[in-house]
C-alpha cells in the first residue's frame, strides 16, 4: 500500500471512530454505549491491521489481535454480564443534559484538530489525522466519565479514552514497543476487574449503587 492510501484509510477510520464516540456520548441506555465502545475497539483493531500491513511491523498484528480479543470482545462481554447480573434498571444518569455533553464533545473535537494543526512539522511523526482524533477520543472519554453518575457508564468512558490513546500510539510512525502496549492492556484489564468487583461489592455490602455514594464532602 502506498503511504497516501494508508493515510486515507486511517483518516476514514478516524472519522468512524469519532462517530462511535458520538454514539457513546449520546447513548441513553447503558447497553447501547457498551455496543458502541465495542464497535470502536473493533475499528481500532482494523486500524492496527492496516498499519501492520503497510509498515510490515509484526508487533502491530499482535496488538491488533489483542485489541480484538480483549477490548472488542472480552471487556464488553463482562460489562453486559454485570448489567444482567445487577439487573440494572438505572441507565446512564447524566449530571448535565446529554445535549450539553454533546455540545461539549463537539467543542473538544474542534479544539483537538485546531491544536494539532498548530503543530506543523511534527505531524510527520504520526500518520494522518491520528493525533487530533486520538486527542478528541481521549478527552471525550474523560468527558463521559466526568458527566455520568453510574459506574458502568464511567467504565465505558474509560475504555473509549484508552482507545484514543491506542489509536495515536499505533499511528506513531515507528510504532510503540510491543511489551509496553501489552503491559498497558494488562493494566486496563486489571483496572476493569477491580472496578467490576467494587461495583458488585457496593451492591452486596451496602445495598446501593455507586451513583448513590455521595456523602464524602468538604
Amino acid at each position: 500500500m502506498s503511504a497516501e492510501t494508508v493515510q486515507a484509510i486511517i483518516d476514514d477510520l478516524g472519522a468512524l471512530l469519532l462517530f462511535t464516540m458520538i454514539l457513546i456520548v449520546a447513548a441513553s441506555q447503558i447497553s447501547r454505549a457498551i455496543y458502541a465502545v465495542a464497535a470502536q475497539s473493533f475499528l481500532i483493531a482494523i486500524a492496527g491491521a492496516v498499519l501492520a500491513t503497510a509498515t510490515g511491523n509484526v508487533d502491530l498484528w499482535v496488538i491488533a489481535g489483542v485489541t480484538l480479543v480483549v477490548k472488542a470482545t472480552l471487556l464488553p462481554w463482562v460489562l453486559h454480564w454485570v448489567v444482567r447480573r445487577m439487573n440494572v434498571r438505572r441507565e446512564v444518569e447524566p449530571v448535565i443534559p446529554v445535549a450539553a455533553t454533546l455540545a461539549l464533545a463537539v467543542a473538544v473535537v474542534v479544539m483537538s484538530f485546531h491544536l494539532s494543526a498548530s503543530l506543523g512539522t511534527v505531524r510527520q511523526a504520526i500518520t494522518g489525522n491520528a493525533l487530533p482524533v486520538g486527542i478528541a477520543l481521549t478527552l471525550s472519554g474523560v468527558l463521559v466519565m466526568a458527566t455520568r453518575k453510574t459506574a458502568l457508564t464511567q467504565m465505558v468512558g474509560l475504555f473509549a479514552s484508552e482507545n484514543g490513546i491506542f489509536f495515536t500510539a499505533m499511528a506513531v510512525t515507528q510504532g510503540m514497543p510491543l511489551i509496553i502496549e501489552i503491559g498497558v492492556i494488562l493494566d486496563v484489564i486489571l483496572a476493569a476487574l477491580v472496578m467490576t468487583i467494587m461495583v458488585l461489592r457496593v451492591r452486596s455490602t451496602v445495598d446501593a449503587d455507586i451513583a448513590d455514594l455521595d456523602r464524602l464532602k468538604g
Partner: protein
Amino acid sequence: MAETLLWVLPLVPSVTALAMLTTRKRRILSGLDVGGSAVLFALTLVLAREVAAGGPRSIGVFRIDDLGLVFLLLLVVLTLTVSIYTVGWLRQAVAVGNMKAESLRSYFALVHAFVATMVVTVLADNLGVLWIAMEGTTITSAVLIGYHGHRHGLEAAWKYIIVTTIGISFGLFGTVLVYAAAADVMGSAGTMSWSAIMQVAPTLDPGIVRIGFIFVMIGYGTKAGLAPMHLWLPDAHSQAPTPVSALLSGVLIKCALLAIIRFQTIAAAACGPAFAEEVLLVFGLISVVVATPFILVQRDLKRLLGYHSVEHVGIVALGLGFGGAVGTYGALLHVVNHGITKALAFFAAGTAIARYGSRDMRAIRGLAAVAPIGATLLMLAALSLAGTPPFSIFVSELMVLRAGIGHGHWVAIAIFLVMVVVIFAGLLHHAGAMVFGEPRGAGRRTEAWSPLLAMLLLAAIMVLMGLTIPASFDGILRRATEVVVG
C-alpha cells in the same frame, strides 16, 4: 552487584507478598511484614553506597541515579516504619473489629504488592514501564482504601480509582507524544528510555513536547494530588486504614512527583526551562491556595492531614517552578521532609483516633493527659508541618522561598507567604485543641510499644533533618539537583 540489586529490589516486596498468602496467623504475618521491609531497607542502603561510589547504574528497563535514590530512600524508610507501626495498630484494630482476623493475609499481601509497584515506578527508566507501574499502584491501593468495606470507604475507593485512572490516561497520552517526538529524531532505534531520550532531548520538536508535558503534568499531577485534580485525595487519605494513609501521603504522591520531574527535565531540554517551570508554578500556587480554606474549617482529623498534603505537594511544585539549583534542592528536600513528617502525623493521628473512637477533632480533647508520649509526638508533627523552626519542613520551605526571591517571583512569594501563615495558625489551633484541655471520652491506657517505636524513629529523623542534613545525604541531594537542573 548494583545491577543485580536493581531487579532484586522490586522482587523483595513481591516475594514477601506471595509468602504472606501462605499463612493466616497474625504474628507470622507481622513478622513477614517487618522482615520483608527490613530486607528492602538494607538492600537499598547497599545500593545507595554503590551509586555514591560508581554513579548511576542501569539494567534493562531499570535505572538508578541520585534523583531516584532520594525517592527510593524515602520509600524504604517509610515502608519499614509503617511495618513496625502496623504490628501494634493491627492488634488494636482486630480487637475492636475494624479489621477481620481471617482476611488479614490479603491486606498484608496487597500492601506489599503496592510497595512493589511503587519501587518499580522509582526505578523505571523506560517511560512506558513507569506508566504501567503507576497504574499498578492505583489498582493495588484502590482495594486497600476500600478495605474496611463500609459505605464511605467504598465511596472513597471508587472516586480514587476513577479520578486517578482518568488522570493517568492523560499521562499515557503525554508519554506517547514525547515518544513520538523522540522516535521522529532517533529513527527506527527509537526507545522509550528516559536516559536515551535525554541524550537527544535538545533536538526534540518543542511543539509536541510542550503538549506532551501538559498532558503528563495533568496526568501524573492527578496522582500527585495537585489542585484542581486533587479531588480524590482527602477522601482516600481519610478513609484508608492508617498505615495505608501514611504510604499514600508519604510515598505514593511523591512517586508521581518523580514522574513529573523526569518529564520536566525532558521538557526543559527541548523547549527551555522557562515553560516547564511556569506550568509547575501555576499548579503549585493553585494547590497551596485551594488547600488553605479546607484546612481551616476541617473537623475530620485525617481529612485535615489529606488537605495538608495538597498544600505541601503544591510547595514542592513551587520549588521546582522557581527552579535553579536552590529551588530544585529545596523541592527535593521538601519531598523527603514532608514524607517523613506526614507519616509521623498520620501515625500519631491514627493512635489518637483509635483511643477516642472518632476522627472528629471536636471529640478528641486532652490527649496530653491520657497519652503523654503520643500527644507530644502529635504536637511535634503539627509544629513541623506548620513550618516551625527548628524542624525539617522549616528548612526546606525557607529554601523554596529563597529560590523564589532569587528569581524575583514576588507575586507568587506573597501568595505563598500569606497561605503559609494562615495554615500555620489554623493547624496549631486544631492541634492545640486536641492535645491540651480536659480529657473526655478516653481513659488512660498504656500506649502500645510498636507504634511508639515507629513514631520515635520518624521523629528522630525529622529533628535531625531540621538541625543538620547529614553529609552523605546532602551529597545525594546535590547530585540529584544536578540531574534535574543539568
